[in-house]
Symmetry: C2
Subunit: 452 residues, 2 copies
Amino acid sequence: MDVNDIRDIVEDLNFLIAKKDDSMIRNILVGLHPADVAEIIHYLSHEDKHYIFSLLDADFASEVISELDDVSLDKILDDLDENRITEIVDEMDSDDATDLVAELPEEVAHKVLQRIDKEDSEEVLELIRHEEDTAGGIMAKEYIAVNQNMTVEQVIQQIRSQAEEVEDLYNIWVVDEDQKLVGTVTLKDLILADSKTVISEIMDSDVISVTPDVDQEEVARITQKYDLVSLPVVDDEGHLVGRITFDDVADVAEEEASEDFQRMAGIADEEEFRETSILKISRARLPWLMVAFAGEMVSAFTLSRFEASLSQIIAAAFFIPIIMAMGGNAGIQSSTIMVRGMATGEIDLFEIRRRLVREIFVSMLNGFLCGLFLFGVVSIFLGQPRFGLLLGSVLFVVIMSATFVGAFIPVMLRKINIDPAISTGPFITTWNDVVGLLIYLGLITIFLPYLS
Amino acid sequence: MDVNDIRDIVEDLNFLIAKKDDSMIRNILVGLHPADVAEIIHYLSHEDKHYIFSLLDADFASEVISELDDVSLDKILDDLDENRITEIVDEMDSDDATDLVAELPEEVAHKVLQRIDKEDSEEVLELIRHEEDTAGGIMAKEYIAVNQNMTVEQVIQQIRSQAEEVEDLYNIWVVDEDQKLVGTVTLKDLILADSKTVISEIMDSDVISVTPDVDQEEVARITQKYDLVSLPVVDDEGHLVGRITFDDVADVAEEEASEDFQRMAGIADEEEFRETSILKISRARLPWLMVAFAGEMVSAFTLSRFEASLSQIIAAAFFIPIIMAMGGNAGIQSSTIMVRGMATGEIDLFEIRRRLVREIFVSMLNGFLCGLFLFGVVSIFLGQPRFGLLLGSVLFVVIMSATFVGAFIPVMLRKINIDPAISTGPFITTWNDVVGLLIYLGLITIFLPYLS
C-alpha cells in the first residue's frame, strides 16, 4: 500500500470520524496491515489518532503500536489509561513489550508490570536490564528450544504447543540437558526429516551466536555477513537467553545509518524525521552550529592577525572562499569514506592503515590537479602567474592536509571509542577552515615581497 | 569470526602457501564459512588470492565467490579460465550466477552460458534483462510454487524434490492453474497442518508482491515496513516470476545507504571502500571538487566586485569564513534530514510540505540565535555595535536562506527524478557560499556609510 492509498483512507476516515461511524471505521481498519494502520494514524490529528486507536481491539492495537512513529506513539501514550496499556502489553512480544514499557512513566510501568501475565512481566524485567543498543536490548524471549534427544515428532509437538507464542518461526534451537545451545535446525530440514529421527542427527552444530552485551551494530554486521534469518543470544556459559530476527536487524541497520547521517551533518540528539516541535529540531541542530561558530571566530581572529597582508593585497581575500571550500569538500570526501567504511565493517582494523596511506596519495594527486588548475586560471585569466603559483601551491597543501585530517580524525575517534560519525560534519570542516586559512595567509605573508 | 581470527588464519595460510601444503590449506578452508573464506582471500596478495581460490571445489568456490568484495572478485575473475567459471556458475543460485555472468567479458559470458545447464542459462538470460537496481535485478528463480489444490502431503513431496535447488526456504507460494500467485504459506503453518489438508485452506491470500520493474530501494522499504522474510515478484498479469529474500534486501539497504553517504559527500562514481587504485579514487572525487572549484571562482568574482567596500573596511573580510561556514553547516543539516528522510520513506510526499514549513521556522529561530550571538560578540568584545548589528543580521539572513535551500533543493531534485543525495554535498554548500557572500557584501556596501 503506497502513500496515496494511505491518504485516500485517511480522507475516508476523516469523513467517518466526523460522522462517528465507529463500526464502519472498524471495518476499514481490520482489513489492513498493522503497519498501514500505523501509517494512517500518523496522518491524523492529535485527537483523531487517539480516537482511532481506541477503536482497535487489544491484539490488533498491540501490533499497530509497535509500528508507530515515535511522535505518534508519544501522543497516543499520553492519553492511554493503565488498563488499556496493560491489555495491549499483554498481547505483545517480549521485545516490543519491553520497548513500550521503557517509554512509560515509572509509576505507570510499575502498575502495568504488576497486572500483566507473571511470565511476561518477568521477561520484560529481564530484557529491560540490557542496554538499548545491544543484542540484549533488541532480542526477544519468543523462541523454540528443544532438547537434543527429542525426535522430530516430539519437536513438532512442541512447536504446536508454542505456536501462538512464537508467531514467526524460521528455525529452532537445540539445547543440551543444561540448556546450553548446541545446534540449530531449519524448518525446512524439519519438514524433510523422518518423524522418528532424533533432532541432534539433523541439527547444524556450527551455530553462530552472540552474547547479550554485543553492540547492535556488530549484531547487524554478523547477521548480514552470514545471511542469518535469526541469531541466538547466549549468556557467558552458553545458555540460550534470546532470539534476534532479521526484521529487528533491518531496523537496527536503518537506525544506525540514520544516526550516522545525522551525526555527520552535525545534528546532535537524534532528530526525528517527523518531529513536529520546532524547538526540538532547533535544539538538535544548534550545538554543532555553535561549535562551528566558535571555530570560525578563530578564523576571524586568524584573519585579523594578517590584516596588514590583506590590506596590501586585497585580492588575497577573494580567494578565501575557494581555499576554505576546497579543503572542506576534500575533507568531507575522505572522512565519509572512512566513517561509512568502518560502520559497515568494510574498512577494518587492518584496512585502516592501507586506507590512510592511500588517502595520502589521493590527496597529493587531487591537491596537485586542483592546484594546477587554480594556477592556470589565475595566470591565464588574471595574468598574474606569480600570484597564481602561490595560490595553486596553497590549494595543494590545503587539500592534502584536509584530506588527510578528514581520514585520520575518524580513526582516532574510533580508537578512543567515540562514534567517528560525529567528527565528519562541522568538526573537520571547521578545523580545516582554520588550518587552511593559516596556511594560506602565512604563505601569502611570506611571499608578499615577491608578488608584485 | 572476527577480524583478528581472520588475520591469524591469513598468517597460517601465508606460511602454508610458501610450503605449498595444499592438503593442509584445504583442511583449514573447508571448515570455514564461505563468508569468512571471502574475507581471508581479501587479505591475500594477488597471486595468493588466485592460488587459494583454485584449491576450492566448485560448490564451495561458488559460495565464496558470491561473498567476495568487488576488488578481489575482479582480480580472481581475471585469472580464471572458462571451464572453471562454468563449473562455478553451474553451482550458483540464479541471482548470484546472473551477477557473476554480468561481470564477465562478453565472449566469456557467452561461452559460459552455452556450457552450463540449459535451464540455468535460461534463468540467467531472463534475469540479466532486468535493470540491476530493480526487483527483477535482485530476484532469484529459486522458489517453490505449488498449486492451490495440492494437499499438504503433496506440497511436502514437492519441497523434497526441490530441496537441493532451493536452499533457503521460509515460505512457499501458492498459484492457481494459470500460475498466478494467489497466496503464501509459511513453513511453520505447513508443519502444523494435517497432511490431508488442501493448501488453499491454510494459505494467507493477502500476499504482498512487487513487479520486476520496482526500484530496489522501494523493495527494501516494502519488506522493511511489512517485516517480510521473502517477497514474491510477479509480472503484470500476476504470474510468479521470482523471489527476493531478506538477505538480498539487507544488501540493498546497505548499498543504497552507502551510495547516499558517498553522493552527499560529493563522491561521483561509487567508490569501493577497499579500492586500491589511487587513480580510481581520485577520479571518483575530482568531479565534485571541480564543481566546487567553479562555484568558488564565482565567489572570488563576487568578492572582486566588492573590492572597494572590502578595502574600505578590511574587517569585513575577517567574517567571510563565519558567514560561509554557518550557512554551509545549516544547509547540510536541513538537506541531510530531507535526503535521509525521503530515502527511508519517513518523509513522504505529504510530509514534505509540513517539513518545509517547519524548516522555515527552524531556520528563523536558529538564524536569529546565531545572529544575536554574533551581534553580542562583535559589540561587546570588539566594541563595534553597529558593525555587530549588521553582521548579526547578515548571519540571520544567510542561515535562513541556507537552511531553506538545503531542504528545498533535494525535494526539487526528487521531483525531476534525480537522486536528492547528489545535491547535499558540494552543490548546496557552494550555492550557499555564493549567495551568502552576495548577501553579506551587498548589505555591507549599502550600510557602509553608517558603519563608522
